[in-house]
Amino acid sequence: MSDQLIGILSFPVLLTMIFLRVPIGLSMFVTGLIGLILVTDGTQVPFGRLKSETFTTFSSYSLSIIPMFLLMGHFATLGGMSQALFKAAESFLGHRKGGVAMAAVGACAGFGAICGSSLATAATMGRVALPELRRYGYDGGFSTAALAAGGTLGILIPPSIVLVIYAILTEQNIAKLFLAAFIPGIIAALGYVLAISIYVRIYPDSAGLRARVPYGARFAALVKIWPVMLVFLAVVGGIYAGWFTPTEGAAVGALGTGLIAWGNGGLTRASLADSFIVTARSTAMIFFIILGAAFYNGFLALTQVPQGIAEWVGTSGFSPYMILILILVFYLILGCFMDSLSMILLTIPIFWPVMQGLDFGFVSMLDLHMARAWEAMAAAPDITPRVLDGLREVFASGGVPDTAQASAVAAIQTHFEAEPGMIESVFQTLAAGEELTRDQIRALELRRLNQGALNGINSELIAIWFGILVLIVVEVGLITPPVGMNLFIINAMEKTTKLTDTYKAVMFFVASDLARVVLLMVFPVITLMFITW
């Protein structure tokens, strides 16, 4: 049997094991181990790997962010912040049609900003919002569905544990991924609010009304959520501003939420021990999957299967968007049976090389030349991008620069000690929609304008865009029957509601999710607008 065949056959074996309820991490580990034994003819290589690989997998600076975020999320649930968030959102939205449910979604979004896990977000907000929803006559199936959907904002809005794992697997910058997830996260929350308002118009009996809250009380409620804002700004803002690494950000966040919980009296010795135990369980579960995935992917890489698939897809002639759609549909289906983290760990090492090889044409060589030339020229004294844009327009229309513009050109020329006419020619070339010539590039002292640099930029943009799309489709799995974990968790809290009622109502939110996937796929700029390259 060739190595590649062994690699391919390992998929059905692995899936069979997983579907026979063998823990997912264990399935991947065992498949990888046996595969390695077969491919390398003996136990020497795999057992030798184990001597250091388990340790190095667990002893990872970047992965240490996971237990810290988990602990942070748990402290956040102890801190009473969920109550404050819900009250604030309710005072602004509660009097609208379906407003209390909208408030629950809004509070979930707020909570998602300090908690990286969907299940924790759903469970915590469920405890706070469900009694309130019942009080105002909201239908059980509708309430539970709204909260289950709202909970998925936990992983979408940064910080997000799944995004951390994705960033590590694809070797991307965590800060950029967090930044990219922000707008889609807000769109998600708005989409759910829209789904709620449509639902209550189709089924007017499903929601009661609540009195309007005066503005003074609204702002009083808003002020109470300052600790959440502070922690979120410190963690996500700090990571993005480069004050600290993502791991340090997670540590700051864990300490911050810990202090909030302590300040609110939620953190006692017993609840601290309990937080450790809960964090321990989820951390160990995640890391065992990471270990299994590392082992399995090590084996797969040796069989050359991922490269083979990427090559095959590259030469198959399918359009890039077709392939992307197929992958996303695959995630939607698999998401009905499997949890998001396992799916990402299992499939990204196979799908990422495929995606990386596709050309979505985000940035062209011309864009790159233009951007780098602009950056370089803006470094000259008194030159702003606005001045540069003005100059390009003048040259594009074939006009003559006015005095101010002429002096700007002169300033740039002096800055670069360029020959007379060179700067004008740069503008003429770019205005004509052409790439810069070798001489022009040298005159502006531009570097890294080759194909390699361009591929790097496009690959990063694809990674970020694909990551956010995948994050959304795997998160849909949390609220789709038959095994949507969020549905179970919330439904279990509301004993009188049948699971099928939750299923029915959640379809509105699933539809909102799918619409969002299409929106983000058709307009990559929504995800990528803040990403600098």
Partner: protein, 194 residues
Amino acid sequence: MHRVFLILSRIMAIAGGVMLAALILLTVYSVLARALDRLFHAMIGADMAPGLARWMIDAGVGPLLGTYEVLEAGIAFVIFAFLPICQITGGHATVDIFTAQMSEGANRVLRGVTEVIFAAVLVLIAVQLYGGMMSKLNSGQVTLELAFPVWWSYAISLLGAVLAALVAVYLACVRAVEMVTGRVVLPADLGAEH
């Protein structure tokens, strides 16, 4: 027997949690120290209370050396220490939608086989971790900045790995007995109480 392992696992998990908390404090401290260092140097540069700034820097307020190394060593202990509690409370992620339709007998067999494989794997991991520790001990490798022996980190990690292996072997024995005799010793869903 079950109680003993459960209590041991809980103690191990809490020890891991305390270590995690310590690492968090250390990391935050290093962030603060770095920020202050930058502030004091900026103060000297801008001639704002340079005496105070110089005094603080001389007093040892500055970036902490080797935080990264301590974090990596400590986090390995944390993760290994977290394994036993996950094992004994059945916390691993599974897909049980298909097995839910199968008979109780078939499920018993699956549980038995799975736990035996799991125990074998965790024993293998612990044994190989010990092997890894011995080779680091013999090579005398030390970390870059703080120069503490690498095998120390392996040694503390081994504690959790060994307990996890013991717990897994115990669970495998229980499930094997259940598989053969058909008697129910432990509930199928160990995590139900959590």
